[in-house]
Symmetry: C2
Subunit: 325 residues, 2 copies
Amino acid sequence: MKTEEDQLVQKIAKALASKGRRGLALGAGDDAALLAPRSGYQTILTCDWFLEGSHFLRDKHPAESIGWKCLARAVSDIAAMGGEPKHFLLSLALPQTHTGRWLDRFLSGLARAQRRLGCQLAGGDTTRSDDIQINVTVVGEIRRGRAVLRSGSKPGDLIFVSGRLGEAELGLRWLRQGQAARHRNGPCMRKHLYPEPRVILGQWLAAQGIATAMMDLSDGLSSDLPRLCAASRVGARIETDRIPKVQMRAGENQDHVDLVRLALNGGDDYELLFTVRPSDVRRVPRVFRGLPLSCIGEISRDRRLVLTGPEGREETLVPRGWDPF
Amino acid sequence: MKTEEDQLVQKIAKALASKGRRGLALGAGDDAALLAPRSGYQTILTCDWFLEGSHFLRDKHPAESIGWKCLARAVSDIAAMGGEPKHFLLSLALPQTHTGRWLDRFLSGLARAQRRLGCQLAGGDTTRSDDIQINVTVVGEIRRGRAVLRSGSKPGDLIFVSGRLGEAELGLRWLRQGQAARHRNGPCMRKHLYPEPRVILGQWLAAQGIATAMMDLSDGLSSDLPRLCAASRVGARIETDRIPKVQMRAGENQDHVDLVRLALNGGDDYELLFTVRPSDVRRVPRVFRGLPLSCIGEISRDRRLVLTGPEGREETLVPRGWDPF
């Protein structure tokens, strides 16, 4: 005779079963997971909240997207250090009304993400709650000494970002305004619902020793760049003209969205922000496997954060990205 | 200029700062934690929800207890495999009203637990929510091949439990009834508010090779023993007389609590349930560092779960422990 909790755990384990063990000695079903770290490698560990109301809306976000995104955003922290994602733990608190069809769809999105990201379920915890609450822990690995930290930037290093900034935020706005269907196949909607953490790029930058510091952009450039600078004890000067913004065709921006502010303050892009020594800049391609890499400015010795506008006007960069408080 | 989230993260990191790195190459403050696993060891990984309403009550449980218990119960899963706890990630979602004095008290309880359990903060995630939501991931380690799983019990093995069962459940009842103060210094109240995971016992049983299977009792014996038996593909016969129950002085049980049912179905004890080959039984002490170890029955080949009462009456053991659904 099984408890309802046991039945739910079995359903999850079945939906997310994968072949091969990839260093997993023992997965879901015991008190804890047992992993066999590779010799010469370090373990990278991160966890991320994904909560109804704060991070997604029950009646707006498809369950498949919630499943995909809860893993993708946690994996992005592994990518940000240059690591390879290996395993994850899924903590799921659900209303009783959501243990049937909704859970099936959630698990199908999550199963797609784990295949895509090469990440295997190793365990978790399941309980009941009024709201949908998710917490994902991801374990990755990286060759000893190769991890790229936030703290390695030096004055004179050039600042790069991958992709285009603000896309996910615009996707969210459209979703809130009930315009998701109209933009369904566009990059903004896709990036908001099914973001792709930059795992391959992060691993390449770390393996090549190109990035002196790196982090992922989850809260928005204006909030995240100051964190990298604080960790490295440096400042930064960036140019609004060089920031890769959302691309729109002429006349498409009917709502007159300020694409610069969107790129500075929009969250959830999961692009990589990294710095490069001047002598290594020529090693950074303009496009990496279809993904544009843009130089947006330079690290400075003085600890200020300066944004230079199109006519050379300077302003202080103020953190206006996502802050839950 | 720091976001409110950054300030909160700093407060947490400061309250839980500890000396020495114990295999931690990089802790809170970067995208992810970086651990250096010891060669010849496996990594044990577990996570646990601790949610207001389901696992504790905001207006009944002291913040110090919530801080202590969120770590202690997750560490108990490491103990259940015989491992040594090393690091933890703290995911904390709080109402804005709880980021001041309440958080200080929570962190002081958690700091005590981490010192006591030898476990170091390695990172986490902090966000806002209406309810207090906690998720703790613990990383432990164990020498390769030494972990004790749930699946190793064989017919004829004897079944042991540590401590006394039902104490924590009785503590919870008293707390709900507003009688916590009257019982403050008793073992039941202490065990409910500040449970001590059996880390040393678990490590000893694993290192000595005495336990053939092991798990911790978190939901109650009647729910947890069937899980161990299912994993080992065996059954069990246990005797109510031999189950270590809450001890009360004559006349103290004024509410006529059924101490047998309490021991069978009460959750949150975090004692260890383990099985031992008949040839190893003499190696199990009656008391291990002040903690009683009791033989309560035997593993059987047939897959039934049988409870034998005082007059030899048999009944089927039905899972009536904690089930969130």
